[in-house]
């Protein structure tokens, strides 16, 4: 079936940005149509439905951390299914990143992607020949390509700043690939996999998946940190690639990352594999236990005396486990601290940080390194002493000294972190994060007339002084202002009713109450004997009230006429409608050479 829906790079970027707003179904479709109109100048007509993964009944989808929206478009002539998927958003995603892309030991989000597409097809009753297109950012690119390579989930995948496919991950996910790797590199176990020269494995994977790569289309920023990271072992970049320099002020981090020796990356990868294997078997707590030796899950739901009791009962085991597990972990951290001159020197040279930020950071990382070595020594001393005394408890004095020494080092580390933070380096490095985002990518997609601020489309008038007009906002104003004015009209009517209710009808009600009392007095005068004493007609025992006559006077209610104010409010609504048209005309005058501006306004009201 022909792809009749226009997909431009900026439409992709804005669609992916929209997905991060977690809108409800109606709002998502409305915004999608709006973006489509702005980007293509055409109205997306037909039946459009959306379905978000958070509505899925499959626990495999929610538990994996996958987030995405399926959009089914039936124009009458053609049908298409779009799957718009989010990148990393929370801890679940980041833990998945370590397990899936660094260790290569999980594809649960790719499985969830496939399951979600299947669920969406059933929900929309989509036939098998309908084209399924995946749009992805960041982690979602890995999910979509893994789903495409292993399950043919998508016909096409379009990605921006994606986390690349990983050949270690594919080795465990794709049996055919595994068999071919084993045959080609003569390996008999998965342990040997990590010993194959990464470049050889990379080239093999590129060739193996060459055919399917034709359906993958990527736009990548040269400044995206994920692009930089994709140079390390594991990642292979599939599909047609459009490179964009989204931050011309800096060169990007790829060269810096490429300079890291492969054995250092391999060291970190081993940690990630240990974590992934343990957490795949026993959950995240088991993964953390594998890294630091302590079962953090056992602390959960314990507090006060129960927590203290748990720590005392397991103290010896915990200290020994920490002593065993921390050194290899700290060795990896020390790889960073020991190379801080090179790392931060390169960042300064590339313009990411200032000289002062570099100096303060290196100084404090050296201090942090010293504290980490101290922590290692303190634990070692403590365990040695236990072994020597052959006693799991060294006595309160010794234990308190150990705890105080550990605490003092932790405080030192925290203080150093605060000093580094004070230089503003973390904020400065935000620009690296921005280069991974969709908005910087959108900004780079500007031409003479069109540019972007956030995800909004901006037109710049070149008549005289350049004037920037937010076309997205203008169309939204034109589209939504009438319903807002109509809502105001309803509120004016409600106000009018409230005046009648609170004043006119309420006054009538009060009058009725008074009249009821008058009737009561006139019909049962004897019940009002108290009037005699109240007005001094003593003694009262020998008097009887025979009649009461009330000379009632009820003036009509005054000051309740709001006619003038209501008239003014109604006029304001009417003049609002004229004002909107005037505004439209003013914008059209600014862009009179752009024929489509007028059309955009017209079409925006048909969304």
């Amino acid at each position: 079936m022909g792809n009749k829906i226009i997909i431009t790079p900026s439409l992709q970027a804005r669609l992916l940005d929209l997905e991060y707003h977690n809108l409800d179904s109606t709002k998502f479709v409305e915004q999608f149509k709006q973006i489509y109109l702005e980007e293509t100048g055409q109205l997306l007509e037909g039946e459009i439905q959306s379905y978000n993964s958070n509505k899925s009944t499959y626990s495999a989808i929610s538990e994996s951390g996958y987030n995405g929206t399926a959009v089914y478009i039936d124009t009458g002539d053609s049908q298409e299914l779009f799957i718009v998927s989010q990148g990393s958003q929370d801890t679940v995603d980041w833990l998945y990143n370590i397990k899936a892309m660094f260790a290569g030991r999980s594809i649960s989000q790719a499985l969830a992607t496939d399951k979600f597409v299947d669920e969406a097809k059933k929900k929309f009753e989509v036939s098998e020949d309908v084209e399924v297109t995946g749009f992805s950012h960041s982690l979602a690119h890995n999910n979509n390509t893994v789903a495409l390579l292993n399950y043919d989930t998508f016909d096409q995948v379009y990605s921006i700043n994606g986390a690349q496919t990983n050949y270690y991950q594919q080795y465990f996910a794709d049996r055919n690939f595994q068999l071919e790797v084993r045959k080609n590199f003569s390996i008999s176990s998965s342990k040997e996999l990590y010993e194959i020269p990464p470049q050889d494995l990379h080239d093999f994977a590129m060739e193996f998946y060459g055919d399917k790569a034709k359906n993958i289309h990527q736009t990548i920023s040269k400044d995206d940190p994920l692009y930089a990271v994709s140079v390390v072992r594991g990642f292979f970049t599939l599909g047609s690639i459009t490179m964009v320099d989204t931050n011309p002020d800096v060169p990007g981090l790829r060269e810096l990352i490429a300079d890291i020796p492969d054995d250092v990356i391999k060291d970190f990868q081993e940690l990630a594999i240990d974590f992934a294997v343990a957490s795949n078997e026993g959950g995240t707590n088991e993964g953390v236990k594998e890294l630091i030796g302590i079962d953090v899950g056992a602390f959960k739901d314990k507090e006060g005396m129960e927590l203290a009791g748990h720590i005392i009962a397991n103290y010896d085991t915990m200290v020994r486990a920490l002593n065993e597990k921390l050194p290899p972990l700290l060795d990896r951290v020390q790889t960073v601290t020991a190379n801080s001159n090179e790392i931060f020197g390169s960042l300064e040279e590339a313009g990411y940080i200032t000289e002062r930020q570099k100096e303060v950071t290196i100084d404090h990382l050296t201090r942090i390194e010293k504290s980490l070595i101290d922590i290692e020594d303190i634990l070692k001393d403590n365990v040695n002493l236990r072994d020597k005394l052959n006693n799991p408890f060294l006595g309160a004095g010794n234990e308190i000294v150990t705890i105080l020494r550990l605490a003092s080092n932790l405080v030192e580390i925290y203080m150093s972190y605060k000093e580094i933070e004070k230089t503003g380096i973390l904020k400065r490095l935000e620009s690296i994060k921005d280069s991974h985002g969709l908005q910087e990518m959108l900004s780079s997609m500007s031409d003479g007339l069109k540019s972007y601020i956030g995800a909004d489309m901006i037109y710049t008038s070149t008549k005289g002084e350049p004037i920037k007009v937010n076309i997205s906002a203008a169309l939204q104003m034109y589209q939504k202002a009438i319903p807002i004015l109509e809502a105001k009209s309803t509120k004016i009517s409600n106000f009018e009713k409230a005046i009648k209710h609170e004043l006119d009808e309420s006054y009538k009600g009060e009058k009725r109450k008074v009249q009821d009392e008058i009737n009561q007095m006139e019909s049962s005068p004897s019940s009002y004997r108290f009037l005699l004493s109240k007005h001094g007609f003593y003694p009262t025992f020998n008097k009887e009230i025979k009649s009461i006559r009330v000379h009632e006077i009820f003036y009509p209610l005054e000051d309740n006429d709001f006619a003038e104010q209501l008239e003014e409010l109604k006029k304001s609504v009417e003049s609002g409608k004229l004002y909107i048209e005037k505004y439209r005309q003013a914008i059209e005058d600014l862009f009179e050479e752009e024929e489509n501006v007028s059309q955009l306004f017209d079409l925006s009201r048909r969304i």
Binding site: I467, I484, F495, K543, Y583, A586
Partner: protein, 110 residues
């Protein structure tokens, strides 16, 4: 037995404070204002940056300011009118609750 009549002004039912009606009515004004705010948020996002100049931009900015001022003045007038109307309502209801009446009684001792 002789009958006598006296006339007095009497509070027929107890007074009540209706000031709360101001709040009830002003809520409607606040709701209308909320619509205006939403309207102006849409309008104010259109021109990028406060410092942009140009004949068309200046004209629209002027028109927007004039419109906002006019709307504000209508709301101020409505609010003041609500206050006056409810104060007057309070006084007028208090007035009708007091009426002049003639009481005729019989003195059994004479």
């Amino acid at each position: 037995m002789p009958q006598f009549t006296f006339s007095v002004t009497e509070q027929l039912i107890p007074n009540q404070d209706y000031t709360d009606k101001k709040k009830q009515l002003r809520t409607h004004v606040d709701n209308m204002r909320a619509d205006d705010d939403e309207f102006y948020v849409l309008v104010n996002n259109i021109i990028v940056g406060e410092d942009q100049k140009g004949k068309i931009i200046d004209a629209m900015k002027k028109e927007t300011t004039a419109r906002k001022d006019r709307d504000e003045s209508i709301y101020a007038d409505v609010t003041s009118k609500i206050s006056k109307a409810v104060n007057s309502f309070n006084e007028q209801v208090a007035d009708i609750k007091k009426q002049r009446l003639s009481v005729t009684y019989e003195d059994k001792t004479e």
